[in-house]
Structures are given as structure tokens and as C-alpha cells.
Symmetry: C2
Subunit: 281 residues, 2 copies
């Protein structure tokens, strides 16, 4: 695949950065990730908004305008011709002189085939475990996934698909996804603070608000346990029902009615976006 590195398109096999970069030295950088459906980069402006916000939080110079980025992304769509793909835009801390102070960032844009969660996966749902943890600077999409990768072994040992972080009695987010609950009175709720503001989360919250009562606010562990439905949202997973939490079944152990309805509406929103933003080669 072709990728974009700082100021030029290169084959990914030839895309290298020097070892003094602050991502390698200090794990310092931000990124964003979006996908294409039938070549169309979905909700791209929402992702760009977040990318620039993350860069701003960590005082990294994004090096490109939104229009520059858009042009590069569409050139990659054309060059690589992957219908279902993921784009990652990474902005690193750059070649630091003293190994600590950020410098001019390296900008890396990768483009690869992506596996998007299937209907079968939706029906199967997922089993999760809980872990007390609050991400550093959670509203910025930093490259820091130390805890997430460290917890992989715990997931495997407990035969779980994902881990939901909580802190001080409130649930927060998954390492790479947001969480929603549906309360007994059919309100759709997602944590408001101390989480990354996912783009799928945003779209689902909007959809939910049109159909049900929907809220972004703190959610306690007790509320999670009392929820009639629980699901996650992410760019590659869309919406996935959570059917087990620490080995306790959620609801009747099947995808809930509201989760299913939101999934359907989200798929329609995707299709509508693709229709309105067609790609022509």
C-alpha cells in the first residue's frame, strides 16, 4: 500500500522514521482513525475535527490544513483502491534534540484494508471484563495504549473480548471503543466525561436522541449491572452488544431490541453518507 509521510507518498515498506522521534523515545504522539465504506471515507470531517483537537491538546503542530489532509486522503483512496479500508493519521512528537522536548512532528498517514464487524458478530455479541483505570488526558486521542496492550493477557486468560475501564465507581470506556447502556426505562446513556469522544458514539447518541431518551452523563457500576442492554461503539465495530460482564449475563443474553434498532439506524446513516458523498474514479 501507499502511505503518506510528511510531504510525500511512499510505499509502506519504505516508510521509516528516525529513532530519535519522540514516539519511539517517549511514546508521545496523537492519531486518529477512520474507515471507508465502498471507497468513501465515512464522516471524515468529524474525524478531522477530533484530529486537530487532539493535536491542540498536546500542542503538536498538525503541519497540514484540513483541506491538505482531505486531498491526501482522497489521493490515497485513488492510489490504493481498497473498498473497505482504515486510514490512520499519526502525528508524533518529532525528532527531539534532548529526547524529551517535542519538535516538529512527523506526520504519517497509513491506508490499509480493514475488517469491519459483521452481522454475525453483532448477533454473537461480546463478553467483557472490568478494570479500574483512567486513561491519561482521556479526551485526546494519544498513542498511549500501554495499559490496553498490557491487559491483553488478562483478556485471554479470562476468555473475554474486551475490557471496560472504570474509575471511582463510574464506567468510562473500552481501550478502543465507547460504552452505552440502556436503562430499564429505555433511556440510552453513555459516559460524558473522562472518555474519548468517539465519532460512532456521537452519531449513535444523535440517532438515539431521535428515537428514545438519550443522555451523556456519569454511569455508576450499579447502573451498569442493572442495565437492560449494554453495547459498545467504535469505528470498525459500529455497534456490538455486550452480553456478558465478568461472566454475568446481561439481560436475556441476546442483543437487545434498542441496541438492534440503533444498529439498523446507524447502518442507514452510513449508507446515506455514502450516497451523498460518492467516489468517482
Amino acid at each position: 500500500m501507499i502511505v503518506f509521510l510528511n510531504d510525500r507518498f511512499v510505499d509502506e515498506k519504505e516508510a521509516f522514521i528516525g529513532i530519535s522521534d519522540l514516539s519511539i523515545q517517549r511514546g508521545f504522539g496523537i492519531f486518529d482513525f477512520f474507515r471507508t465504506s465502498n471507497y468513501v471515507p465515512l464522516f471524515i470531517d468529524d474525524y478531522f475535527d477530533r484530529f486537530f483537537r487532539s493535536a491542540d491538546y498536546l500542542h503538536l503542530d498538525p503541519r497540514k490544513t484540513r483541506e491538505d489532509l482531505r486531498k491526501i486522503v482522497f489521493e490515497l483512496v485513488d492510489k490504493n483502491r481498497i473498498p473497505t479500508s482504515g486510514f490512520k493519521i499519526i502525528l508524533t512528537g518529532g525528532y527531539s534534540v534532548d529526547g524529551f522536548e517535542p519538535a516538529t512532528p512527523n506526520l504519517i498517514i497509513t491506508h490499509q484494508p480493514a475488517e469491519i464487524s459483521s452481522e454475525a458478530k453483532f448477533e454473537k455479541g461480546i463478553a467483557i471484563i472490568l478494570h479500574e483505570y483512567l486513561r491519561d488526558i482521556p479526551t485526546a486521542k494519544s498513542i498511549n495504549y500501554l495499559m490496553a496492550i498490557y491487559l491483553r493477557d488478562k483478556l485471554i486468560a479470562q476468555k473475554a473480548d474486551d475490557v471496560l475501564y472504570f474509575k471511582d465507581g463510574c464506567i468510562l470506556e473500552f481501550p478502543r471503543s465507547n460504552v452505552f447502556i440502556v436503562t430499564k426505562d429505555k433511556t440510552v446513556v453513555t459516559p460524558a466525561e473522562n472518555v474519548l469522544h468517539g465519532i460512532t458514539r456521537k452519531k449513535v447518541l444523535e440517532i438515539a436522541g431521535n428515537k428514545y431518551k438519550a443522555e451523556a452523563r456519569a454511569i455508576t457500576l450499579s447502573e451498569l449491572k442493572a442495565a437492560s442492554e449494554v453495547f459498545l461503539t467504535s469505528t470498525t465495530k459500529r455497534i456490538l452488544p455486550v452480553l456478558k460482564i465478568d461472566n454475568v449475563t446481561v439481560g436475556n443474553g441476546e442483543p437487545g431490541e434498542i441496541t438492534r434498532s440503533l444498529y439498523g439506524s446507524f447502518r442507514e446513516l452510513e449508507d446515506e453518507y455514502c450516497r451523498k458523498n460518492p467516489i468517482t474514479f
Copy 2:
């Protein structure tokens, strides 16, 4: 300078790694850092111990034995001929297939001139601020310095030299140094848990135990405020008196008697190590 990358010596200007490495993608890796005094890598086995321990914590294959590493380090001492230098050994998460699962690590060993804290700096001491934060997996020397770099602006704004992390009312460590206090009854104390076990910390604790009462245990913020002396230890800073905490003067605002005595003994220990482990070219 010449550096070592995986299996060969290369000029640092030609030392690159591919963008799919998990340090760039997910800030995932460990490292260690030691220095030379008159060409001699100081306390090198203590640093190797910690390097292998960090790799083990994060389940990264260190790729080399201790003897391999020692050989590479001494070859770099010979090739680069820098009397006062810093060695950094980084072990990254490797070229991950899916951008999340660790692979065979990239091993990077850099060697550069290092600035070691001077006597003048000791006399001047430092001013610090406090910040509530607990590092992820604190006993492993991971490359995650997101919070530390993020806090740089706060340091500059408050005209402070460093930031001391605390959590739940107990002090922990600086981003790159350990903390010690001397109590009114002349006991030398450093936090025992939830901190990186610094090599200078270890040596100073040993020295202190021979001269005074010395303990590793939890230290509350109140104890910090009541301390007659406060200092930090690190590889490049050795021992530095902390003379101001959040703009409040510690003791009489000058380096304390016990801090000074430990500094002298630590310098002697360094000299002794160099005498016993001479480098001959």
C-alpha cells in the same frame, strides 16, 4: 555517533524503524538509561537487571542476553569514545501486524554525550510543584511519558524545575527521578511502592542505611511538608536538593547537611566503581 539497531552498528543518522512499529502506533515499549563516567558505564549490571525486569513485565522478548548487551555497550564505548555519555536501550513492541498485538521487538541502543548535573547545580537546588498522578505499571520503565511531556507547560508557567507526582495523599516520584525526604529525627525515607526503582535511588538508600536510619515506605504529603530536607535522585542528576515545593521553602532554603553528606558518599561510590572497572582502549 554510532548506535546499535537489532543486529548491527549503524550511524545514528541512518537509524530508522518502520512506521508499523508498536512504539509509533501505540507508544508501546520499554527502555533503560545509564551513563558513563570517564568512559566507564556506571553500575551497568543494576541497569541490565532493571532492563530485563521491564521487558519481562511487558512480555517483550529482550532479544539479547546480558552478555550480548554488555559486549555491544563496550563496543560502543570504544567506537564513539565519549568520556561522559548516556546509553539508552529501547525495546519496542515491534512490527505489529494488526497495529495492536506485539511482535518481535526492535532493539535500539543509542550512545550520546550526556550532561551530568554539576556541583553548582547541587548548590542551587531546584524548585518543584506537585501533581496528582500515578504512572501506568510504575515499576516497569516503559516509554510512556505522555503526562510528563504534557506537564512541561505547567512547569514553565510556574517557573518550576520539576514536578513531583502524588496519589491518594502519598508522594511517589518525579517523571524521571526518585524522591527522598529527611525527617526531623534524621531518618532518610523514599517511597517503596508504585514508583520506578531507580538505580541511584538504590545506591543512595544503601549509603544512607550505613550512615543514618533509612527506610523505603509510603510518605504522606504532610510528611513531605514537615521534612527538614528533600532531594531527588537520578542517573544524570545524581542527587539534587529540593529547596522549594509549590513556592514554599524547604528547611532554611539551602542544601541540607544529610543531603550533602549523601551526595559526597555517592560521588565516592562512583569513583570507586570507576577505579574497580577501568576501561582500557
